[in-house]
């Protein structure tokens, strides 16, 4: 009976979804477990302190009814009449303490008003109660949220969870949370046990708590102090591992962006020997193409807005490729074999492209939103959070790399491109249309830069100047890896990314840049042909 009534009164679908877990628990109970009317009554006490205490007391019950009541209060669905707290269902009034309908309908029903402090207490209590959710993911989330914020008041609930919970991972988190609360226990023996068990923790906040205990001013007991030091050491070790993993990951992420920028350059520079200073602007073209696709999806296909990035991939590929082919046909073609003029001309072209973007889209950075499937993150360890968009971009970079590898090594066109890279005159002699191959290769390099632009739009600002920041690093990647070498570009990009981020962690961004440049100069001195150079036209 109770169930049916309750569902009927819920107008809001999301509320049903939220409460569903509690209903499931209710099903398994033999009868409605009544709440203590004295405690419930306090929800409408005179002072805020009393209300908050009442909320906490109800939460401590840890029962589904308590959760449902607090949720109803958080949703502003409660009323009162005199001392009785009531929930209205149509024109029937339900006493929340007993779950019974009140007949006849009481007079003077007023809405129970919540304020900031009661709402805060409600939210905290509700998240505590989520520890009893039947959904494992939800329980883990709740446990992790508690890990840093739990106080002594939560202890009874935590104990209850430890009895009921069967999942070892959640048990582990709760045990550590209990231990960090126990650190404040006046009994040194309990503190000692807590400190010892906290050596197993991975949470950065625990580190602060343990550090406090190594100070004699905070911790009178010498045994607890030394145990805290030990636990702190093992905790710091594990945190260091996590930090290193984070750095390597950020390095990989930077490397994958460099790779996307450098792959295109590796082709244009490798095949034609052209130093294309406008390559960064082709990244920009790709990013603006993404922005335009986002706009088109917003106005015309709002229901598919989450997939605009996928649609932007081919659009960016072809628009950047077309711009590249246009540049090659109209300007660069006439400058073959004149590297200095090419460099200056392409620099000029890059300025023209930047200004064109300013005229067309305005000088400000544009907002390109991550779709749902690109936002969020994966928490690999308590201090290792891997953003989803970066993970996907790393995958995307390797996908583009694989595509290029197939194109260069498994198609006849690729065979021709490699032949022209190696010996242009001879390729011409066996009938390869070298001028056409130049155009295609330049277009392909530009198109891949466009793909890089799609990736960049998801992690960086989209603006007219965005390409400038990547061109130098991309060139360094190509030169370091060896001209015209895919494998070289991969190793150089990932190496540069990871080394930069590792040094940044120790010495800061500026020093990292200097050190990386010095390393590159040293390597180029030793191996002018790059790390993975093949013998070819430009390295003879």
């Amino acid at each position: 009976m109770f169930l049916k009534i309750r569902i009927k009164m819920l107008s809001n679908f999301s509320r049903i979804v939220f409460l569903l877990p509690f209903f499931l628990i209710v099903f398994s109970l033999p009868a409605y477990a009544a709440l203590d009317p004295e405690i419930v009554k306090q929800l409408n006490a005179e002072t805020n302190e009393e209300k908050v205490a009442s909320i906490k007391n109800i939460a401590l019950l840890g029962t589904p009814e308590a959760a449902a009541l607090l949720q109803a209060m958080a949703d502003d669905a409660l009323s009162f009449s005199g001392d009785t707290i009531i929930r209205m269902e149509g024109d029937r009034a339900i006493n929340v303490a007993t779950g019974q309908e009140i007949k006849p309908l009481p007079e003077n029903i007023e809405t129970l008003v919540t304020n900031n402090s009661t709402r805060r207490a409600l939210n905290a209590s509700l998240s505590l109660l989520k520890l009893f959710s039947p959904d494992r993911e939800e329980r883990i989330k709740a446990a992790k949220a508690l890990e840093a914020s739990a106080d002594a008041l939560s202890m009874p609930i935590l104990d209850q969870v430890l009895i009921k919970e069967s999942d070892p991972e959640i048990k582990q988190i709760i045990t550590l949370t209990r231990a960090s609360i126990e650190l404040k226990n006046p009994d040194p023996a309990k503190r000692l046990a807590a400190v010892k068990s906290l050596g197993e923790s991975n949470h950065p906040d625990v580190k602060i708590k343990l550090t406090e205990l190594t100070d004699p001013a905070n911790e009178p007991d010498a045994g607890v102090q030394s145990a805290a030091k030990e636990s702190l050491a093992s905790l710091e070790n594990r945190l260091l591992v996590g930090e290193s993993i984070s750095r390597v990951f950020t390095g990989l992420s930077l490397g994958s962006v460099l790779l996307l920028a450098a792959l295109g350059l590796a082709i244009t520079y490798g095949v034609m020997g052209i130093i294309n200073m406008a390559h960064g602007e082709l990244l920009m073209v790709g990013a603006y193409a993404t922005y335009v696709m986002q706009g088109i999806f917003r106005t015309h296909f709002p229901e598919y807005i989450d997939w605009y990035v996928l649609a932007a991939i081919p659009v960016a590929f072809f628009s950047a490729g077309l711009v590249g082919i246009l540049l090659e046909r109209t300007v660069i073609r006439w400058l073959y074999g004149r590297p200095l003029e090419t460099l200056l001309t392409t620099w000029g072209l890059s300025l023209i492209l930047i200004q064109s973007a300013r005229v067309a889209f305005g000088p400000q950075n544009l907002e390109v939103a991550n779709p749902i499937w690109l936002s969020g993150s994966i928490e690999a360890m308590s201090n290792v959070v891997l953003p989803l968009n970066r993970i996907i971009i790393i995958g995307f970079a390797f996908f583009v790399l694989a595509l290029m590898w197939v194109l260069l090594n498994r198609t006849r066109l690729g065979l021709f491109v490699r032949a022209v890279t190696q010996n242009r005159a001879m390729a011409g002699c066996v009938g390869v249309p070298t001028a056409r191959i130049d155009t295609v290769a330049f277009g392909l390099g530009s198109a891949i830069a466009g793909l890089g632009g799609v990736a960049l739009s998801q992690i960086a600002n989209v603006g007219p100047d965005m390409g400038q920041g990547y061109i130098v690093d991309a060139f360094m990647t190509v030169v370091l890896g060896g001209v015209g070498q895919l494998a070289g570009a991969v190793w150089a990009a990932m190496g540069l990314g990871i080394v930069t981020k590792l040094i940044e962690g120790v010495a800061g961004a500026v020093i990292a840049k200097i050190v990386v440049l010095a390393i590159i100069i040293a390597i180029i001195q030793k191996r002018p042909q790059g790390l993975f150079a093949i013998k070819g036209r430009f390295v003879d």
Binding site: L413, A419, G428, V430, K535
Partner: protein, 266 residues
């Protein structure tokens, strides 16, 4: 269109020193080339027949390489004409155009794509539609594979198909280049000292290769190695100071007193 009318059109009809034979693949008439007054070729007139193997020998400076250069368009003749297939006037064509009408040339130094595999080298050289759009989706079909493996067998590289060409021995590189030339299906193949730098064993196998092409492919071989020339058992032309000294099989030529004088006497 008759041969005479073509020649008449170029105003060369009367100058022909001998009538054009109907099955000639290449006809050089009265070619003269001077470098700063030195006459590298002096009124040279030569005819090569279809599917014939010809060897050209001569001492240093006799004009052998210059003759090759004139045929392939690398050097322009001061006077005289070169007709290919009796109707195509090569003096009007550029180097790549001459290559495209069907004259393949192998240089002394092996020129191959060192970073490509043997198979890829042959695939690159193959005579197919090499336009971009076609090449993107082109696959190595059975016909291609058969042709490439035929050539591989011919040039003794069947076991090195996936080998990177740069790792081949000198002799193998020479064979690979010959194979690449054959893949282009030239009507006439010019080979400049193909066995230079080869071991005796390799030289002999190259000779076998050329002998197997005899009668199927028009070949002109410039060579110093007399043992190799003897193995080919072909008609030999001796060049001296830019013109033909004598012509005939090797034994006849070697018995010619003028030849002995040119090679030994001076």
């Amino acid at each position: 269109m008759s041969d005479t009318s073509v020649n008449m059109a170029h105003g060369m009809g009367e100058n022909l020193s001998e009538p054009i034979k109907n099955n000639s693949i290449l006809q050089l008439s009265n070619i003269t080339v001077s470098f700063d007054g030195f006459r590298a070729l002096n009124d040279l007139t030569l005819t090569f027949q279809v599917n014939e193997l010809r060897c050209i020998i001569g001492p240093n400076g006799a004009g052998k390489t210059t003759m090759m250069d004139v045929i392939t368009g690398k050097t322009r003749a001061d006077s005289g004409t070169v007709f290919f297939n009796q109707t195509i006037d090569l003096s009007n064509l550029s180097e790549p155009e001459i290559a495209r009408v069907g004259i393949g040339r192998k240089f002394q130094k092996p020129t191959i794509f060192e970073n490509h595999t043997v198979f890829e080298n042959l695939e690159l050289a193959m005579k197919v539609d090499k336009r971009v759009r076609h090449s993107l989706f082109a696959v190595v079909d059975d016909l291609t594979r058969d042709r490439i493996s035929d050539t591989l067998r011919l040039i003794h590289l069947g076991e090195h198909t996936e080998q990177v060409a740069g790792r081949l021995s000198h002799g193998q590189k020479q064979w690979l280049e010959i194979g690449m030339l054959l893949m282009q299906e030239p009507q006439l193949l010019l080979l400049d000292e193909p066995v230079a730098g080869m071991t005796d064993d390799e030289t002999e196998r190259t000779g076998e290769l050329f002998n197997s092409l005899k009668g199927k492919q028009s070949l002109v071989v410039v060579e110093h190695d007399m043992a190799f020339v003897e193995q080919l058992k072909s008609n030999v032309i001796v060049l001296h100071e830019g013109s033909v000294l004598c012509e005939g099989d090797l034994a006849t030529v070697q018995a010619n007193p003028k030849v002995i004088e040119v090679y030994l006497g001076r």
